[in-house]
Symmetry: C2
Subunit: 366 residues, 2 copies
């Protein structure tokens, strides 16, 4: 039984690590010469939209999934007659375009930011008038980790932001004065079974996820987030793991974006939940029963960004679980993460603050 | 950083699964065409004593270890000038010969069975007279999973056992009327740090491990086993994981055998301990700090032998962790295992009895 994965990054690597114990084999497609997952399984080396390689991937796999959402929906669609693809391509397409995503949230009555599509400088000025300042100008497509975004604080920022991003189609949305950022992650199986993880509380810095703590927040947030997630899962008759990120403002959850794949804010589940998001993604797409999403304690996951501290120093922290993605260091690049599972919320928070004080002393933790 | 592993069986496979998150790469040597670990890492295909392949393994690895103890000590010894080999070959040599192993236990004042070396039919008859009946005749070398053994209950069994095993050099030992079989597993690092896991209680059937439960038994057994293990670790200035199996008879621990490698009775540590035996073996041989061996609950590990039940059926048990070794089924062959981590001893024992009632209804569980 082979799972074909488009993209061989760290998410693919962790899918393989979770899948081998289930007796699954893997085949990756990735344009990089030595991507993180390629040490663990055979790797077709070429473009995500190379039809010949995609054809080979389809022939040699029972099911195809992706570890990266900026893959060509059209190229994958062409394979649908030959092989099953999970999650559904309609969900992938919606997540690739911020306007489709906003419309989806609105259609499913999931609160989201006020927004306007922006195709010209004039439309941008009108959007700023309608929505107000501060606001965020984002490319409709291909944004991730804070890339392709500009915050507009005053009218004077409009010209600069337009020069920066105006070449692409854009979306302007209100800037939410949030108190917390949270994300909900869950799986739906082909049989319609749904399993949702405890909510994670996220801390970003410079647009990149730095810290996730889970479980997080009051049960009212969990209930709300779970209800919204279930709506999206049902809408697409989804199969696999789906993540939605929210801003929290005065007890309201406001959807920011969704990801039709295993998600960085779910990495804590490897040690911190009874079944990891990676295993549940595979169980879902292979038609196996979903595993329990119960938290085993209070987890903190800290990303290792830009520079990899020596393993010797990290592993000297008792109880620290290291995940090195074997990537070349580069500023702003996610190179690994580490997780700690505490017995209490307070112990977890102390640990997270202690580690971040060393790794990224400027991070503000709520 | 590459770890070279002689043997690419399920132990090598689980070492690789534990090692990739540490940022380690692997290279295997194994005579099988498609051994369990070969899907996960490059594989040199050939005999365990092929000097050319061993040389290649040494050149391409920072350290060499083994997942199987019946490898040629002489062949490995020839590599020692080129590469570090852990655990020490002296420990490997002792574990390969039951007579050396018995002498080692005696020298370190670790209680073991009464025994005699047997090189002829006449020596066997004398050994039976000296040690008494019932007793066990074993080949000095190459025994595992109950292979190369015969139980002698009466004088009439002597002739038959001799016909069966007499071609090899042998050892005859008393048959211990034990109430429990337990094993202790621990790691020693090159810095001399020692980390020992909670004791496991083992149930064998037809010579093959069927069930391990850990933690197991009173703390007096744990203290005793830990003390004996530490003696062997210090004796060899050992680096890596070592396991010793004991019979328990009236509160005494009687050493049966040792294994200088990760051990089947330690598989529960993957989910049931803060750091798995596989990760601690790698930490030890890579000169990294050892991880905590604390148990996270009450674990049961059940081996899947001879026939692999469908994953769909196994995964329907909530909380069951499946480990499929991707091996072809064959009677008596270990094909995988599954682990359950309970909050109480009673819940754990209920689960183990329930699963074994389905998988191996004739197993007697103390």
């Amino acid at each position: 039984m082979t799972v074909g994965i488009v993209g061989a990054g760290q998410l693919g690597r962790m899918l393989a690590l979770a899948g081998y114990p289930l007796g699954v084999d893997f085949l990756f497609l990735d344009p990089a010469a030595r991507p993180p997952a390629a040490a663990l399984a055979p790797h077709l080396h070429g473009s995500f939209s190379d039809r010949r390689l995609l054809g080979a991937l389809a022939r040699r796999s029972e099911v195809i999934t992706f570890d990266w959402e900026n893959v060509s929906v059209a190229a994958l669609r062409a394979l649908r007659q030959d092989v099953r693809i999970c999650p559904p391509l309609a969900a992938l397409a919606a997540s690739q375009d911020r306007v489709s995503e906003k419309r989806l949230f609105e259609r499913l009555q999931i609160p989201t930011t006020r927004w306007r599509a922006v195709g010209s400088r004039r439309q941008l000025e009108r959007a700023v008038r309608d929505i107000g300042l501060p606001g965020v100008l984002k490319t409709r497509r291909l944004g991730y980790d804070g890339k392709g975004q500009a915050v507009l604080k005053s009218a004077a920022d409009v010209a600069h932001a337009w020069r920066e991003l105006g070449a692409a189609t854009l979306l302007y949305e209100e800037h939410i004065a949030f108190t917390h950022e949270v994300s909900i992650i869950g799986a739906r199986s082909s049989a319609g079974e749904v399993a949702v993880y405890p909510l994670g509380g996220n801390v970003h810095s410079q647009g990149i996820l730095r810290l996730t703590r889970a479980p997080y927040g009051p049960s009212s947030w969990q209930q709300l987030a779970k209800r919204y997630l279930a709506r999206v899962l049902e809408h697409f008759r989804y199969v696999g793991i789906l993540a939605i990120e929210f801003f929290v403002q005065r007890g309201r959850l406001i959807a920011n974006e969704m990801a039709p794949r295993v998600h960085n804010s779910g990495h804590w589940t490897i040690e911190g939940a009874l079944t990891s998001q990676f295993e549940n993604h595979l169980r879902a797409i292979l038609g196996l029963p979903l595993g329990s999403t119960r938290a085993l304690g209070y987890s903190a996951m800290v990303n290792l960004i830009g520079r990899m501290p020596p393993a010797r120093e990290l592993l000297a922290f008792q109880g620290l679980h290291l995940h090195d993605y074997a990537k070349a260091p580069r500023p702003g690049r996610k190179l690994g993460h580490c997780t700690f599972v505490a017995r209490t919320r307070a112990e977890r928070d102390r640990w997270a603050r202690g580690l971040l004080a060393i790794l990224a002393p400027n991070t503000r933790i709520p």
